[in-house]
């Protein structure tokens, strides 16, 4: 179908965009890869679309001086996928981006758009949580852990715009794993798991595990993380992660099947992360 009629403003500054968003029926459009299908289906009928893609300075990827990165909200998925800086510092992010839809969608979709759309099965919200991102808006800076409130729901106010994603440096000797299962290449994940494991003197000093697609928001598998630092091992952590989620079933996969996937993908992601951290192909704990 075709979108319903709306007014359109190509904002040239954040101040102009924020002012336009005072209109309750206004929506922000950036890459439009989630919004335009919803308009075509007429699931939404905003009276005004505020296009923020022409606002300068919101698509840079910069070093933060402390080993982390600052990434502009208008950065496209494909840019994130192929950025040498991202590959060097947060390879888990480059790897995960390859799972996002298809090239034509990654070319157009912005990372700020994906975070603000907050689809429970989308990769980026989960990655933001995994990498302890700070999300800078026109009003404040919010931790990723406080940003996602529910399916398609975030802490953003109606006239607040996400401008930058700040990723703090990972600890030394950190390995990563990202495992996703989808029925077809490029589909939304039935379930995905991202993990980082940081070693110190050969032992796990810190582990972070995020499960995507098994709840209304991405979920830290904190019970499983603890089992790695207290040396209970990856198998026990995978079982704990599986026990922590309560996914919904739908025609793509039952709740039990998704829970099973969480266990399998957690084990694989942790094994990959541990191997990368230890720099050996040896047996993971």
């Amino acid at each position: 179908m075709k979108p319903p009629a709306f007014e359109y403003l190509a904002a040239t500054s954040l101040a102009q965009a924020v002012a336009a968003l005072a209109n309750d029926e206004a929506k922000i459009i950036a890459g439009g890869q989630s919004l335009v299908p919803m308009l075509n289906f007429r699931l939404l009928a905003p009276s005004l679309l505020v296009d923020i893609t022409r606002i300068p300075g919101l698509d840079a990827i910069e070093e933060d001086g402390g080993g982390g990165l600052r990434i502009g909200a208008l950065t496209r998925h494909h840019t994130l996928e192929t950025s040498a800086m991202v590959q060097a510092r947060f390879p888990v992010l480059s790897a995960a981006m390859k799972h996002v839809a298809h090239l034509a969608v990654r070319n157009r979709g912005t990372i700020g758009g994906s975070l603000c759309h907050a689809d429970p099965a989308a990769e980026l919200p989960g990655l933001a949580l995994l990498l302890n991102a700070q999300l800078k808006t026109t009003q404040r800076t919010v931790a990723a852990a406080d940003f996602f409130e529910g399916a398609l729901s975030t802490a953003l106010a109606g006239d607040e715009i996400l401008t930058e994603i700040q990723l703090p440096a990972l600890p030394p000797r950190t390995g990563w794993g990202f495992e996703e299962f989808a029925r077809r290449s490029g589909d939304f994940a039935l379930t995905a798991v991202g993990a980082t494991v940081s070693l110190s003197d050969g032992e796990v000093a810190e582990a972070r595990i995020v499960v995507i697609g098994a709840d209304d928001t991405p979920l830290r598998a904190s019970a499983a993380e603890v089992l790695l630092t207290d040396r209970s091992g990856i198998a026990a952590a995978a079982i704990a992660a599986q026990g922590q989620v309560s996914p919904n079933g739908d025609l793509h996969g039952s709740a039990d099947y998704r829970r099973h996937l969480v266990g399998v993908l957690t084990r694989r992601a942790l094994t990959a992360a541990w191997r990368r951290a230890s720099g050996t192909g040896g047996e993971a704990p």
Binding site: F6, A10, V36, H102, L103, A104
Partner: protein
């Protein structure tokens, strides 16, 4: 008013904000090579190149393309002078009904520019956003593979 350059020709148009790039190309410019399949970003038939990147024309408002450069299948080659990818599609019988072909070609153009396409798996992954109900994809993969090979041998 918007101003766009399509296949090298620049023109200005008064358009409604809700006009999709697909409908602009087909109805305003008469470029019906860009096909409309699903209008929800799933089938890939409407894929065109916008400012050097393949995009779903059905997920792009034409006002967002204001000032941009667009390449459609009509810009690739002519019946008498097919471009190498089109020629490969012909030689490898990579189309039957042809509905998906413009999208396959424009996706193929972007894939060839951006990825090494060292394996058939990589080509298949790249084409996974373009649905074809006739060919079973095998010949499409072979056609793209042959262009990768030809470029390798030529360089």
């Amino acid at each position: 008013m918007i101003r766009v350059t399509v296949n090298g020709v620049t023109s200005e148009h008064a358009v409604e904000p809700r006009l999709l790039l697909t409908d602009f190309l087909r109805h305003h410019l008469g470029l019906t090579g860009t096909h409309v399949g699903c209008e929800q970003g799933v089938c890939g038939a409407c894929t065109v190149i916008l400012n050097g990147d393949s995009v779903r024309a059905c997920l792009c408002l034409v006002v967002q393309a204001d000032g941009g450069e667009i390449e459609t299948v009509e810009g690739l080659g002519t019946v008498d002078n097919l471009n190498p990818l089109q020629k490969a599609f012909q030689e490898h019988h990579a189309l039957q009904c042809g509905f998906c072909t413009p999208g396959m070609l424009m996706t193929g153009v972007d894939l060839l520019r951006k990825y090494p396409l060292a394996t058939d798996a990589e080509i298949r992954e790249g084409l996974s956003g373009n649905l074809c109900r006739c060919t079973g994809y095998v010949h499409v993969v072979q056609a793209i593979r042959s262009v990768v090979q030809a470029e390798k041998n030529g360089s």
